[in-house]
């Protein structure tokens, strides 16, 4: 039996001594297009970052195809939220997309013609070829998102983690992204996408992960997108989790 693309076991992640994700336990099947939904502060970005190994868990582990993330870097592509980048940085759109190949190149090697070819294809997939040689400032939200997508495509990964790719993009870009996601799924890639809009979530994704600091439910959209589960996700008895988290923080930190 081959290992699942993503296996998360009893994952608890803390921020500033306080747990923000509690005992997450899931297995994502291959080729799934998963939408992660939940209210603000639910820990959705934290979950992605933990899977990527950018955050250390307080307990539990994550495996990609049966291996820890450190050994599967080339297999997983990550598209973070857009704001985290300096748009005045003196690089062009093409340079940014080319960075997607750096993982495959490793240290010291220079990009070859094949790499540049992949970059061109990626740019074309997202419709940004005409912007290729422009510096990255002065792009609209949708265009910014597209070049990050192109970078991810250039990575040629099997698993993709995306943090709110639809936030702040125009309708055309949104449609383009959805089309791209479905195409990637057809190519048997596994996609884990943090999404902010309930309405479209049920349309775009074939699996949903309902998250609010702990796993509420995970499964095929038809099964999981129910009123009861949604209420549990967005409402719910979370004072217990908050209080427990606060208690842990206080005893570790001493500050009130």
């Amino acid at each position: 039996m081959t290992a699942a693309p993503i296996e998360i076991h009893d994952l608890t992640v803390s921020y500033d001594q306080k747990p923000v994700l509690w005992n997450i336990d899931i297995e994502i099947p291959e080729g799934a297009l998963v939408g992660i939904i939940g209210p603000n502060g639910a820990g959705k970005s934290t979950l992605l970052k933990s899977v990527m190994g950018l955050l250390d868990p307080s307990s539990g582990w994550v495996k990609i195809y049966g291996d820890p993330i450190e050994r599967q870097r080339a297999t997983v592509g990550y598209i973070p939220q857009r704001e985290e980048v300096d748009w005045d940085f003196p690089i062009t759109v093409r340079d940014l997309v080319l960075m997607g190949r750096y993982g495959h190149l490793g240290l010291l090697r220079r990009p070859a013609a094949a790499d540049r070819e992949i970059v061109n294809n990626a740019l074309e997939e997202v419709g940004m070829t005409s912007f290729a040689d422009r510096q990255i400032a002065n792009l609209s939200g949708g265009q910014q998102q597209r070049i990050f997508l192109a970078r991810a495509l250039a990575q040629e990964s099997r698993v993709y983690l995306m943090d709110e790719p639809f936030a702040g993009v125009d309708a055309t870009t949104e449609k383009a992204i959805v089309r791209l996601l479905k195409q990637m799924r057809a190519e048997k890639r596994t996609l884990l996408v943090v999404h902010h809009d309930l309405q479209t979530a049920s349309e775009y994704f074939d699996h949903l992960l309902l998250l609010n600091r702990r796993l509420v439910a995970f499964g095929p959209t038809e099964e999981v997108f129910t009123e009861e589960l949604l209420r549990k996700t967005y409402g719910g008895h979370l004072t217990v989790l908050s209080q427990a988290g606060e208690a842990i923080r206080q005893s570790r930190d001493g500050k009130k």
Binding site: D10, T12, W22, N23, D25, S59, D88, A137, R214, L215, V216, A217, H237, T239, V240, Q243, A244, A247, I248, S251, R252, D253, G254, K255
Partner: protein, 448 residues
Amino acid sequence: MTRLALELSPVLGVAQLWFKDFDTWPLLMALLVSLSCGLLGTVFLVRRTALLGDAVSHSVLPGIAGGLLLAGIVLEHDEESAFGASPTMLFILAGALVAGLASTMLIEALHRHSRIKPDTALGAVFPAFFAGGVILIRLFFTDTHFDENCVFYGALENIFDFRDVAPTLFCSILVVLFFLGFYKEILITSFDRQLSGALGLPVGLMNLLLISLLALAVVVAFEAVGAILVIALLIIPPATAQLLSCRFNRVLILSALFGLSAAFLGCWMTIILQVAGFATLRAPTIAVVASLQFLLALVFSPAQGLLAQALRKRALESRILEENLLGSVYRLGGTPSAEAVTLEEAATRLGYPPEKLGAALRRCRIRGELTVGSEGILLTTQGREKVGGIIRGHRLWESYMIHEMGAATDHVHDAADHIEHHLQPSLVKELEKLLGHPELDPHGSEIP
């Protein structure tokens, strides 16, 4: 008696020093400078622009040089001491103000009207101004008016009378009055710009006043501690204060106090060191003393210090060990009606080497939670109550995880093991309510 006298003589010697060689004017100067810088520095520190003070202290140099030049032309006579209360000083102050304000405006303009970032703008403008000042000095003041050393070491040693101190006194009074008069405005404009705007507070005017006062303070401190060491007095005492308190007014006062004490101790230590054969100057000594104060606070601050952090961590670890010990004794049946439990058994259950539990055992015994007899360890009634509470919390949490978080039954034990040490009684009550006062845990064991 002779022995006593001999033993006391170094102390007497120092005391003699105190009264004979201890010059009060330099001390007064140092105290005044520390006061102004401590207060002003706090504001810049909380605004996260601590290095603006560094910048202004460098960028006033061309202003000082320019002022001196102008004074030389206008006043047509040479002043021996340029820094005491004299007409020349007015020119110098004016020049420093202009330079200080010009440099901050230029920094602002650079990052507002181009893509240059604020820290780059800062790092570009103030050295340039400083360099300009250096060139002016070298071109026009190749004689002793401007001892290069003075710029760096300061010359507290050259303060001889009131006239030297007067401008600094004036500046300190201004600064104190400013803080007394505008405390509220300073507080709000420092913490919440938008609120200040909404309240109609003159944010821009505040900034202007602060920078101007800073430029003034820097210039009058010039002779005392050198333009460069002003930065130490602007940053270190406020940072020390910040390690000890969270409230702005207290930080302000502490900051001033630490500055004053650094000045005092610094002067004092300089004398002692000089007597001991280390020729040194007051200004850097003051800065070093201030740094030592900071390092002490960093380690020993009751709330935030490194020591406090380490102690807290240890206390938590001990508590967890003790609770685990109690828990494992309970689970192995260590009640008077059952068998006593040996330390080895308890340790094995927890997966620790027995030595690790030794201290925990002792503490539990002292607290009356455990008794140690010939056969082993037993829980007292008190101990049993305590354990009961913890295990209750543990099992309730397991139920919570299964019912509310959809966790698998075989996954919940470890998590509950970790969290049981942090569950306060109020939280446990809430869990009970939530779960409908269950009697059995997910594994079928009774909930105490």
